[in-house]
């Protein structure tokens, strides 16, 4: 996505600043990894998979930092987006900012963990509790795609349809050949299909939670499929319009 690409560099620095709090907390703990693993408690020395507390904390810090950077870019993109509806923006920003707050707090918690077992448990929450890449960011992009179709593309398809219909019913009635009539009929079919497939789609996508994703990793698949079908329908509708405009030229 171009908007994300453009904004990445600018927002990465801000995200790193956000991560600063948690990473500094990690640093306070990990500056003495040996001491932390050997002096705090026996359980703190190794987690479930034999990882040291320090190693887990470092991995957690990296994972949280990466996600905060991505969230910062997404927040910037959503804020500046002209495609996403205002209602969806509100929902998305609430989700994304909530993730930033939650992940930042989780980073502080993990940095303060004194056992590898606890750190490992908290570390897993980075993924299961937020699903930044598996859910939050796809929610941003899929909602933007749905809104682009419903807010921008569909009205233009409908506008072209009505203008062409008026021409064919009036001054260009002599050019209303069977082929043109077939194209106009298919255009109407495509518009109806796109309208039905995208109606409420962004709201559906935005309503999904990490818990739902954890229970069903294919949670977004139906919405993604609907968007793909609608995108293809837009392509077909565009071809119909081109067929008619060429006949009227």
């Amino acid at each position: 996505m171009n908007r994300l690409t453009r904004a990445t560099a600018g927002c990465a620095a801000a995200a790193v600043t956000l991560v600063g709090l948690s990473t500094s907390a990690f640093a306070a703990t990990t500056t003495g990894p040996t001491a932390a693993t050997s002096s705090t408690s026996p359980a703190g020395g190794a987690g479930q998979h034999g990882q040291s507390l320090t190693a887990i904390q470092q991995r957690a810090a990296a994972a949280i930092s990466r996600r905060l950077a991505s969230l910062s870019v997404a927040i910037n993109d959503v804020t500046n987006s002209t495609a996403i509806s205002s209602g969806d923006k509100t929902t998305l920003l609430a989700t994304l900012n909530g993730d930033v707050t939650g992940l930042t707090a989780l980073g502080v918690t993990i940095a303060a963990d004194t056992t590898a077992q606890q750190a490992l448990t908290d570390y897993k929450t980075i993924f299961t509790g937020f699903r930044v890449y598996a859910l939050a960011l796809p929610q941003v992009h899929f909602a933007a795609a749905a809104d682009t179709i419903t807010v921008t593309v569909l009205p233009k398809l409908t506008d072209a349809q009505s203008k062409l219909a008026a021409l064919l019913a009036g001054v260009d009635s002599g050019k209303n050949t069977p082929a043109v009539q077939a194209a106009m009929a298919d255009l109407a079919t495509q518009i109806t299909a796109i309208t039905g497939a995208t109606n409420g789609l962004s709201a559906t996508v935005l309503a999904y939670t990490p818990a739902q994703y954890d229970a069903n990793h294919a949670l977004l698949s139906p919405s993604r499929a609907s968007l793909a079908i609608s995108r293809n329908d837009v392509h077909t509708a565009r071809g119909d319009i081109t067929t008619v405009t060429k006949a009227l030229a």
Partner: protein
Amino acid sequence: MSRRTPGTAAAVVVSVTLLVTLAAGCSSHGTTGIPSTPASAVSSPVMTTAPAAPSVAAVVTTVPSAPANAAAAPTVSPSAVATTPTPAGASSDLAAVNRDLAAIDAGSSATDNELAAGDSARAQNDDAQ
């Protein structure tokens, strides 16, 4: 009386000549208003006025309701009347449709980018390792 006889005869001849001339003149004027009698021998002296008659006939043929030109009128006047006001309105509507197409293309491209970005995010590993 005998001296008057030649004068009277001469006067009669002149009168008859004048009458014939007047009669001819009156009859020719009477036929000029009738285009349907161009073959009349009397109208031949009036041929100078004949061009006026065809010009009137030409104006009449431009009137769509003229029955004499009913066969020719449909082939010319409908298309001429229909196409004259069409170009401005039709072309502006087609231009608007082309602008719609451009917006549809831009929206389609943006949609593709969003879908690709969403897929890219989903492709990343979001599970604890």
